[in-house]
Symmetry: C2
Subunit: 448 residues, 2 copies
Amino acid sequence: MSTSPLQDSVDLTIVDLIIKARWIAPVVPANKVFEDCALVIDQGKIIALLPHQEADRRFKADNILLLPHHLLTPGLINSHTHAAMNLFRGYANDQPLQQWLTQSIWPAEKRWVSDSFVRDGSELAIAEMIQSGISCFADMYFFPEETAQVCLDAKLRCQLSFPIMDFPTAWGSGPDDYMAKGLTLHDNFRDSELINIAFGPHAPYTVSDSVLRRIAILAQEMDMPVQIHLHETAQEIEDSLKTYNKRPSQRLMDLGLLFPLTQCVHMTQIDDTDIALLQNSGASVIHCPESNLKLASGFCPVQRLLSAGINVAIGTDGAASNNDLSLLGELKTAALLAKAVAQDASALNAHTALRMATLHGAMALGLEDKIGSLEVGKSADITAIDLSHLHAQPIYDPVSQLIYNQSAQQVSHLWVNGECLLSEGKLQTLDEKELKAKVKFWQEKIAN
Amino acid sequence: MSTSPLQDSVDLTIVDLIIKARWIAPVVPANKVFEDCALVIDQGKIIALLPHQEADRRFKADNILLLPHHLLTPGLINSHTHAAMNLFRGYANDQPLQQWLTQSIWPAEKRWVSDSFVRDGSELAIAEMIQSGISCFADMYFFPEETAQVCLDAKLRCQLSFPIMDFPTAWGSGPDDYMAKGLTLHDNFRDSELINIAFGPHAPYTVSDSVLRRIAILAQEMDMPVQIHLHETAQEIEDSLKTYNKRPSQRLMDLGLLFPLTQCVHMTQIDDTDIALLQNSGASVIHCPESNLKLASGFCPVQRLLSAGINVAIGTDGAASNNDLSLLGELKTAALLAKAVAQDASALNAHTALRMATLHGAMALGLEDKIGSLEVGKSADITAIDLSHLHAQPIYDPVSQLIYNQSAQQVSHLWVNGECLLSEGKLQTLDEKELKAKVKFWQEKIAN
């Protein structure tokens, strides 16, 4: 950022980009929508949020974008997915959970998952997420080094949880191998602006105590997040009570694995002791409502968690159990469902839903100093949604239209770290035609 | 349809329109998807469904449409809405039900509802429904004569339930007045191809026994449908037990109001006696999952009803409690929610969901001889959905992608009675720009 000496009246600061929008919902301050304001961006950071005219008086940019029918929000954060599984989207639906896993998904993974599967599947997911306004996602899948490379190419931000489980897979021979590969990955991306590495113990029922304890020690020593599927089904609780004589949450707490950077995914089964453990540990919950419904896992009591002061973020889960990665669609489902579950039509309002997909996601990932709100000094991770389509009219509250309407397809622009990844709905860093050809190749292989 | 004598080899039948699609899901036969087939249409009717090449051999049309990435389904049927309330979309959200009704919606209706409000609000809703692939809707609102006129102009099919309640409104002075106006409406549209008139007693708690009994007699004498909000909340059951010493469903049965053309909207509170009443009467249930969630009304046990052989159709409800009229979005919610409610991931599969939005809707409205499936002899009410977008890839089962993905914005074409209402996503019978100006006018009035 430099100040131009050649102005007529006042000194104008020269910046990279000025976005003038109809509405801006910065998330911080809470529940606020600014009208006819501009975001000023320089060197990947937000340097001002101010009225259009004041922006004209103080800043100058070659790149000034007018978005007269648009709402700007912080870039959306999809806090749980399995990107590469996009290649299994719709491959198996409407089956009872155990049959779905043992007869469809696991055999398909065993047959097809490889480095190239993960690369192409991740690219499909990343393209879809960019089109859906997602600027950052938390992934958990095999061959995370491939997903990392696609993220770098696409310029999308992500947290990669490298998977750890007791048994061998295509990616590794067992816990020691997964840990070694994951820690190498962590070393490789230590200074990356876009990539963060986290531990991904799959679930309490697939990882033994000794491995979980080792993860707990390393994660806290190295200040690394942990993402784990937890309390997804009633069966999981029942089995844990039989085997360990305690609920999975208590077992994780006893092993030192519940701490502020722990991301507990699903949590459909919750009692008072779980609430207390989450409160005491500072761990976050990642709510995946559509997956929980589709697999008949149960209902996460979101409003109860929020009222208890627990940080709740939101994720789409993988496309095999959703079947799309639209976080705005997920927010509609979450906001509607929370009301029926709480038996209170005022539960999880539209602004809180947006907060779950932005600031709460950033907090869960330990990135709240960098992303999650449109505040001066934070990275310019920004989503623009066009609200001019008929089915958003009339507009009394743009955030309400964003959450409760079908706005997912109206995402027009996305910036990450000040870079434009989506413009007028068109991908800027990926080749859609080439990608479709890759997907067709896999579809033909997998379907036959 | 005429046979041309001037062909080279075989006689070609000249028809109005041939649509060659990648996939066709006709709903009858059930669970079937035809690939690379054509629908042949003449004089508003479907006259053949056959492979592309056979269509070329047998038929000729000036108008041949190629839809190489598209799925054709029967026109979608939105079995419950309040179209004009689109002007209140997002006007009041996230409030407890009683506060929402008494402090927001009812006062707004009292202040604003008029013939011109209903005309413009209906036009907005109808435009949105056409864009969402809805070829027929069942409406219940004041000034239904205005909604009827917009339907005729837009060439959309509808059932209009004229509202009846014990108290006066902007539309009428009381039950006698509503009945007189409604029966006049019925007379006026007796021979209409597009408009059907039904009785719309608002709910058991707003209409007294004598009026309900009169409706029951007239409806069955005149073979007219009845649409009524029923068992929407637990409070409704509780109040009925206190006042009438019976559940609302039993009260309607005793008054003669449950019969095959009765459309019971909501039904979130269901016990074994309700199931038996629905079975014995042949009445249909109209499931409105997003409204039931948003107002925290409860969960309709869809799979249980389907398993009991009850006809279940689907509706969006009005935009004030949804907030959009996307029936494909509603189907995703319905299919996901039914699994969690039934605790069975195989409940309400994708094909059954599509059937709810087509044939089951037609059966509820008493129109199954005319619409609801792509069968020879039925009206050419057809929806085309473009499945070429990235977030529908890969495609293992197009009906699964239709239901579980964000396909609502990918509706490309809609025909009703052989007339094209939507082409390449563009409205053919309504002026979008003019409509937006009307909506803006109301928005500015209502917001201030």
